[in-house]
Symmetry: D2
Subunit: 449 residues, 4 copies
Amino acid sequence: MVNAIITPKGQLDLLSKSEINLLQSSSDGSYANLFRNCALAVLSTGVDSDDGHALLAAHEDFSIDVLSSARGVALRLENAPENAFVDGNMITGIRNHLFAVLRDIVYLQEQYPYWEQQEESITDLVFKTLRNARALQPRKRPNLVVCWGGHSIAEHEYDYSKEVGYRLGLRGLDICTGCGIGAMKGPMKGATIGHAKQVINNTRFIGITEPGIIASEAPNAIVNELIIMPDIEKRLEAFVRLGHAIIVFPGGAGTAEEILYILGILLNEKNNDVAVPLIFTGPKASEAYFEQLDSFIGLTLGEQAQALYTIIIEDGIEVAQSVCQSMKKVYKNRRKLDDAFFYNWSLTIDEDFQHSFAPTHENMANLNLSRNQDKAHFAANLRRAFSGIVAGNIKPDGIAAIKQHGPYQLKGDADVMAALDSLLSAFVEQNRMKLSGDYTPCYELIEKE
Amino acid sequence: MVNAIITPKGQLDLLSKSEINLLQSSSDGSYANLFRNCALAVLSTGVDSDDGHALLAAHEDFSIDVLSSARGVALRLENAPENAFVDGNMITGIRNHLFAVLRDIVYLQEQYPYWEQQEESITDLVFKTLRNARALQPRKRPNLVVCWGGHSIAEHEYDYSKEVGYRLGLRGLDICTGCGIGAMKGPMKGATIGHAKQVINNTRFIGITEPGIIASEAPNAIVNELIIMPDIEKRLEAFVRLGHAIIVFPGGAGTAEEILYILGILLNEKNNDVAVPLIFTGPKASEAYFEQLDSFIGLTLGEQAQALYTIIIEDGIEVAQSVCQSMKKVYKNRRKLDDAFFYNWSLTIDEDFQHSFAPTHENMANLNLSRNQDKAHFAANLRRAFSGIVAGNIKPDGIAAIKQHGPYQLKGDADVMAALDSLLSAFVEQNRMKLSGDYTPCYELIEKE
Amino acid sequence: MVNAIITPKGQLDLLSKSEINLLQSSSDGSYANLFRNCALAVLSTGVDSDDGHALLAAHEDFSIDVLSSARGVALRLENAPENAFVDGNMITGIRNHLFAVLRDIVYLQEQYPYWEQQEESITDLVFKTLRNARALQPRKRPNLVVCWGGHSIAEHEYDYSKEVGYRLGLRGLDICTGCGIGAMKGPMKGATIGHAKQVINNTRFIGITEPGIIASEAPNAIVNELIIMPDIEKRLEAFVRLGHAIIVFPGGAGTAEEILYILGILLNEKNNDVAVPLIFTGPKASEAYFEQLDSFIGLTLGEQAQALYTIIIEDGIEVAQSVCQSMKKVYKNRRKLDDAFFYNWSLTIDEDFQHSFAPTHENMANLNLSRNQDKAHFAANLRRAFSGIVAGNIKPDGIAAIKQHGPYQLKGDADVMAALDSLLSAFVEQNRMKLSGDYTPCYELIEKE
Amino acid sequence: MVNAIITPKGQLDLLSKSEINLLQSSSDGSYANLFRNCALAVLSTGVDSDDGHALLAAHEDFSIDVLSSARGVALRLENAPENAFVDGNMITGIRNHLFAVLRDIVYLQEQYPYWEQQEESITDLVFKTLRNARALQPRKRPNLVVCWGGHSIAEHEYDYSKEVGYRLGLRGLDICTGCGIGAMKGPMKGATIGHAKQVINNTRFIGITEPGIIASEAPNAIVNELIIMPDIEKRLEAFVRLGHAIIVFPGGAGTAEEILYILGILLNEKNNDVAVPLIFTGPKASEAYFEQLDSFIGLTLGEQAQALYTIIIEDGIEVAQSVCQSMKKVYKNRRKLDDAFFYNWSLTIDEDFQHSFAPTHENMANLNLSRNQDKAHFAANLRRAFSGIVAGNIKPDGIAAIKQHGPYQLKGDADVMAALDSLLSAFVEQNRMKLSGDYTPCYELIEKE
C-alpha cells in the first residue's frame, strides 16, 4: 500500500474552494464517497477480477483527499494499491485517469441538480458533460469507432479483437470502448501498433464508464481519455452520439444490453435517415454465437432490426475497410443533415432510453418482456432486463441486492422466455457472465400467461 | 456595412442546442440582446468615441445570430461595421473577441442564476467565470501586471504609458487592463515591442470588461484574451484576484473608482499579510495630478491608505524594476499563504465591494460620503459615487438616466465635498471625463449638514 | 561594457570539436575574426551610426569565444556593448542573432572552400546556405515580400514604409529586408501590428546581410531570422530566390544597386516566363525621386526595363492588395514551371551577377559604364558601380581604401555620366548616402571619350 | 508490386538540384545504386528473411527516382514491395525511413569525400552525420539505452527482451538498437507499452544501421529515427557516443562483434574515467550462453575485461532499475568531464576501431588472433574476425565472396582457436547465425604454430 501526494498536468487542477470542500473525505456528502470509490477503481487497473464488491471491501482503509496548493489542486492518497506505482511514482496514465474522475465528479455535482430548472434535455446534458471532458473535437472528420463486446471473452476472441484493432489503427481510426478488459481492451492494443507504424501521435483511446460499473471494469491502461458519465443510460447515449461507427465483438449480458439499446433507437422511424454503421464481428470459432444472437433478435425485434447490422466473420481487413467506407457515408450524412461531426444531434433517442433504470427486484419483475408492444419499447424493456442482469452479476450494489433477496424474476411470452433462456444459458456456458469462479444465475425466467 | 458568416478557432464553437436557442435574435430573452450589444461593441474597436449610447443608436440595423453547423458553431452578422474587416474577411483578433463575448454570455446565462442555490460565494463565481474563460493558468509564476488609468488622457501621458509597457515587456511581464484605449492600450502597445525583442510568443494581453462599459470602451486590437464579467464589481474583483501587481496611470472618474476599490480592500485588516504591490505613475507633467489624488486620499482615507502605494514620476525603468522585485515578493507571499499563483484566494473582499451597485438617482443620493464610518466603508461608498459618475458620463443606461432626471446628487461632509469638487473639477479641466465635446457634469455635490 | 556567458536555444548549439577550434579567438584564422566582427555588429543594434569602421574601432577590447559544455555550445563575451542587455541578461532577439552569426560563419567555413570540387553551382550553394539556416520552408504558399530601400531616409518616408508594412501584415504577408534601419525596419514594424491584429504568431521577419555590410547596418531587433550570406552577390541572389514579390522604397546607392541587380536579371530573356512582381512605392513627397530614378533607368536600360515594374505613390492599401494579387500569380507560375515555392530555381542568373566584385580602385576604374554593350551587361556593370559607392560610403574596408587612395573614378558615356551625376547628387542632397555628418563623395564621374 | 509517388513530411524534402542529379537512377554513380538498395531494404521490413543477397535478387525490377516538385522533393517508386502499403498508401513509418535513407546518402555523398581535407577526425565526422540526422538533442538528460543482441534468437529470449523493454519504458528510457528484428525489436516493442502507460509521446526509438547490413536487417516498424552510417565501424562509434548505457541480449556473431568493440575501447586506459554502463542479460534458459561468453572473454581479454560488465539473469526490473541508477552516474560523469550529454566526446577510440575493415579472404587470413599483442589490439582483431563472419553469413557482398572463394581462414593460438570454435559451434547449434535453413560455416579455424 502506498501513501502519496499526486499533482495533475493541464487544466484539471483548477477547482474553486467550494468545489474542493464538497469532495473532502471529511464531508458527509455522497459525492465524496462516489469520488473515493471511482478513484479506487481507477487505481486498481490490471487487477484480475470483475467483482467490484470485493474490490471495495478489500480496500476499506483507502482514502483520498483533494488539497489546494500554490500551484493548483493536488490529491492526497492513503493506502493506495501498489501496482499503480513504478519505483514510488504513480504511472502517468493512471494519474490522468484519477484526475478525469475528479473532473467528472465535480461536473456531476455542479450540473446535474440544475438541468431541469434550465429547461435542458438529457441530450444537452450529455453534450455538456462530454464538452467539459474535452471529448468533443470540432473540425475533425468522422473517425471514431465504438467497439462493444464482453470483458470476459475467450483468448481467441481477444486475439481477434486485437487483429481488428490493428487493421483499424493502420487506417488511422480512433477507438472508443467501455474501458475495461477483454473486447474493450483488445481493439485499443491492436490499434496502438497500427498507429505506431503510421506515426500517429494524437491517437484517441476513449473509455466511457459510469460509477456503477467502474469498480468491476477498471479502465485499461491504454485509455487516454477517460470519461465517467453519471449512469448507464447517459453512458450509452455518449457512445452513440460521440462515435461514428459501431463494432460489436462477442460478449455477455452487457453486450446484449448495448445491442438492444442501439437497435431500439434505430428502430425509431425518426432515425431512418441517420447513418449509424453497425458491424457484428468475431473469429470463425464464434460464428455460432452470432447466429444465436441474430436469431434472438429476429424472434424479438423482427427482420427490420436484423437489417440494421452486418455480420462479418474472421476478416479484420474487411471490417476495417468497411468501417472506412462507412466513415465517408457518415461524413456525407452529417453534412446533409447539417449536423456536427463531433456529436450526433440528429439521432432521436426516446426518453424510454434516457432515464435511469434502477434494477430493483420490483422494477425487474414489472418489466414487460412480451411482444404486445411496439418494437422500440420492447427493445427498451429487454435492454433493461440485461442491464439488471449485469448489475446482479458484477456491480457492487446489484451483488448485494441478489445476496439479500435472491434472483430477479423476469416475466414474458413463453417463446421469448425460451429464447432468452437459451441465450443466457449459452452466455453462462461460454463463461461470458463473469471472469472467474462458478456462476450462479442472478435471474429466473418466468413465462407469463 | 458588411454581412458575413464567421466561424471560430478552438473550443469556443461547442454549444448545445439549448445554449444556441437562448441566444437567437428571434428569442425575446435579454441574453440575446446583451450578446448583440456586446458583439457590436467589439466590432466597433478603433472607433473614436466613448459614447456607448450613440454607438448603439447608430447601428440599429445590426444583427447577429448563432448558427449550428456540421463543424460547430458559426455566427451570422448583418450590417456589421466595415472596419472590422480586411478585404472582406474579419480581422482575426476581432473574431476572437466576438467568440469570447459568446463564451462569456453563455456562461453568464448558465451559471449566474444558480450560484446561490449552490451555496457558492461570489468569489467562487468569479473564479469559475475566469476558469471558463481559460484565464487561470496553473504552474506559471506571478507575472501579470494590472494597468489602470483613463481612456481619455493626454498624448504625453499615453506615450509614457507605452514607455512603461515597453520596459515591462522587456522584462517578460504580461499586461491586464480594462481593455479600452488610452492608459488601457498604451502599456500593451509598448509591451508588444518589448516582447518582440525578447522573442516571447505566448504573451498575455488580458482585457477585462463588463456589458455596461464595453460599448464605451471597446477592446483595443492588442487584447488577446477578452473577458466579459457580469458587472463592474465582478470585473474589479477579477482584476485584483488575477493580477500580481497594479500600476495606476492618470485617469478620470473610472480610475478613481479603481483606486478606491483596491484601497478599501487593502484597508481591511484581514488583508494585512497579503502582498498586493501598488504603484501610481505618470510623466513629469502629470506630477500635480498625483499630488492632488494623494491629498484627496489622505483627507478621506488617511495616512494608512497613503502607505499602501508608491508614487513614481517619469521613470519607466524604475517602475518596471520595482514591479519585477514585487513579483518575487508576491511569489513568496503566495507560497507562504499556500495560495494559488493564478488566483488570489487569500484576499478578503467584503460583500460591500462585491454586490452590484445600481447608480439610480436614489441610490446615489443615499450614499453616505461622510467620515462618520470606518475607512473601508467610506472607501466603498466613495467607490460607488465614482462608479455612478462613470455611468452618467459614458454608459448607455447612465446617459439616458441623466437625460431624464438631471444630475446625480451626492451628499457628504463639507470638506470632503470640497475636496471631491476640486478633484472632479480637475478631471473636467484636464479632459479626463470624456473623449471629446464639451463636458456637462452629471453630478451635483451637496454639503451635508 | 558587459562580460557574460550566453547559451542558445534550439539546435544551434551543436558544434563539433573541430568547428569550435576554428572559431577560437586564440586561433589565427580569419574565420575567428570574421565571427568576432559580425558578432560585434549584432550586439550594436540600436546604435545610431552607419559607420562600421568607427564601430569596430570603438570596441577594440571586445572579444568572443566559443565554449563547449555539458549541455552544448556557449559563448563567452568580454566587453560587450551594454545596450544588448536588460538587467544583466542579453535580450533574446539579440542572442538569437548572435547564434545565427555563429551558424552561418561555421557553414561558410565548412562549405565554401569545397563547392567547386563538388561541381555545384553558386545557385546550389546559395540554396544550401539558406537550407542550413532553416530559411527554406516547404509546403508554404508564396507570401514573402522582399522590401528594399535606404537605411538613411526621411521621417515621412519611414512612416510610409510602416504604413505599407501594416497593410501587408494585415494580409498575413511575411517580410524580408536587408536587416538594418530605415526602409529595412519600417515595413517590419508596421507588419508587427498587422500580424498582432490578425493573431499571427509564426511571423517571418527575415533579415539577409553579409559580413561587409553588417557592421554598418546592424540587424534591427524585429528581425527574427537573421542570415549572413558570404558576400553581397550571394545576398542579392538569396533575396530574389527566396522572396515572392519585391517592393522598393526610396533609398540611396544601395537601393540603386538592388534595382539594377533585379532589372539586369529580368532583362535576360530566359526569365521572360518567370513571375517576379516588382513595385516601386513611396509617399507623395517622394514622387519626384521615383520620376528621376525611372528616367535614369529609361536612359540606361531602356523601355523594356521600365516595363518590369509598377510605381505606386502614397497608397499602402493598393500596394498591399497588388502584392496579394501577384502572390496568386507567383503561385500559378511556380506550379506551371514545376518549381519550388520556397526557392526560385527557374530564375536564370548569369555568372556576371553571381561572382563577387571587389570594389578596388582599379576594378572600379575599369568598369564599362557605356551603352556599347547589351542591357543585361550594362545593368551588371552599373550594379557594380553602385556597389562600390556603398562600400566607399559605409563599409569598413571601403572607407579605409578611400582614405588611402582618394575617390573612385567611374568612366562612361557622357550622357550616362550626366544622368548618373544628377542621380547621385540628388542622393547626396536628400541625405540618402549616410546617416549623419557632411558627406564627401567617394567617387568621381569621368566622361569617356 | 506497387508504383507510387511519395512525398515526405518535414525538412527532408529540401534538396538542391545537384544533390538530386547525383541520385538519379539514370546517373551511373554508385550513390544512386546505394540509395536504391537501401531504399529496397527499408521497403522490405517485415519480410521473414535475413538473406540480403536474395532480397536484392528478388526485386531486380524495383526502381526509385528523386523528383523535384513545386512543394519540394518527391520519390517515384516502381515495382515496390506491396507490404509497405495499406490500401494503396505507403505506411508513414516506412515513408519516414525512406526519406531518412535519402537524407543520409545525400550527406554521405557530400561530406565523406572531404573530411580529410578539412582536417577533421572520424569522430567529428560521426558527430556531424548524427547532427545532420537530428539525432543529437541538447538539453536532455542522459536516458538513451543501447540494446545489442541477435536478430536470430529463440522465442523465450525475444519475450524476455520485450519484458526488459517494458520495464525500461515504464521508467521513461529511450531505446537505440541496430534496427532489425529479434533483440533489436523486442526492447522497442516492450518499451512502447511502457511509454503508452506513462503517456510519453516524444519517445525515441533509434535504429542505427549501415548500407552493408540494412538489406539483411531491415529496420523494424517501431524505429522512429533511422540513421544510416557509412560503414560498420562508424555505426559502432555512433552507438557508443550517442548512448548512455548498453544492454547486451543473447545473439550470434554480430553481438560478439559489438561486445568485443566496446570491451576493446574500455580496455584503453585513457577511458578509465569515462562511465559506460554495460549489462549482459537474458532469461534463465540463456544463462549457459552468458557463462560461455564470459569465459571466452576471460580467456582472451582477461579479468580486467570481465570487470567491465555485469551479468543479470531473468530480472527485467533489476535491469531497468540498474540502468536508471547508472544514468545518474553518467549524468555526473559528463558534468565532471564537462562533456556533452548528447555525444560522448570523452571516450577515446583508437583508429584501430575507426577505420573500415574490408573482410576479404586475404584480410581475414592475415588477422592476428593470438595473444602476443596488447589486449585492446587483440579485441580489435577479434572484432574484425566476427565482423567478417557476419558478412559471410548475411551481407550480400560477403555471401557472394564466400560462394566464390570458399570459407574464410582464421588463424591464432591453439587455445584461442579452440575457445572460438566452441563459441561459434554453440552459435550454430542455437541457430544464432541465420534466421532459417541449414547453416554452413563461412569460416575455418586454423591453429597457428
